[in-house]
């Protein structure tokens, strides 16, 4: 399956921090840039996301703002 989200950025999981409901994932996309994803803890567990995993940060284009 392919998703309509326009943005998929490859990287490596650098940290996983779990709360009770939400989780924060840091994805290293290119030294030294980091992308932060706030997703549910459940997703982290279902996908078994762990430090060192090769993942993609997926972002729908309507969620991207532009600063100039």
């Amino acid at each position: 399956m392919e998703i309509s989200a326009r943005n998929g950025i490859k990287g490596t999981v650098e940290s996983v921090k779990l709360g009770a409901v939400m989780a924060s994932i840091k994805i290293k996309v290119e030294d030294p840039a980091l992308i932060t994803a706030a997703i549910t803890k459940e997703s982290v567990e279902d996908l078994e996301i762990a430090v060192g995993d090769e993942v993609k940060a997926i972002i729908k284009s309507t969620e991207v703002m532009v600063a100039k």
Copy 2:
């Protein structure tokens, strides 16, 4: 002012496509990656976003998904 959005990715505007209400901006972030932002046409006009501009793609972390 600094914004709470965790993700700011520097790049250069590669294309600006205007609709009646919305606009699609392609931002080259590192060859050959592109980030697509769907923002209002009004924002494009107010910030005078044009091809070649150095901009930042800003993304709130709750909008980032992870695929593995």
Copy 3:
């Protein structure tokens, strides 16, 4: 690849309406329910989304509100 978005609802594309930048897709998920997705026109073209296609509506859980 599997995505962290918690919600994937199978259905059939009932209509595709293209604007200049955005597109509106109606997905029949169970008679007579319809889910509306506002995605970029570019996604529609890249995925070649057409009436009758079997697709999934994907929704990040932080985007779902609850009314009671």
Copy 4:
């Protein structure tokens, strides 16, 4: 009042999980489908959302992606 959000899916609350700030609500929409909503804990308390409640999952169409 009627809301502009295009998508309202009726279902029954199957579980409510509270964190310190956020909460995760599982809504059974049709056996065996479940929709997950990540909303603030405060909303859960204000609307007194509990297992068995008949609710609607409300989703703005710009938040819906399409996978094919």
Copy 5:
């Protein structure tokens, strides 16, 4: 029905601009502040949103950023 979205700001519709798929609504919330909503054209037609209407801008708290 009550919605889990934490933010509802009363105001008056000042302008409605229709595109093919999306629409931009300006809501005057307190002189001279304006809130811009980018919603589907279909919503504008279904709710018959017109200049002078008393409406509410509804915003889920996970969509609000803070700048300081």
Copy 6:
């Protein structure tokens, strides 16, 4: 830098509630209105957001719904 987000509402931080990953910020925008922002705890710490701070609630227009 200027951001494409159309909505910036000035106010004062009235409360900051921290969870493990997320945080809820109440911003007083005009007596007695409050805007709730659910942002990462990390943002709160990086921007040192505290009660009494003058801040702006920033909202992308595609995240604003209209109720009538």
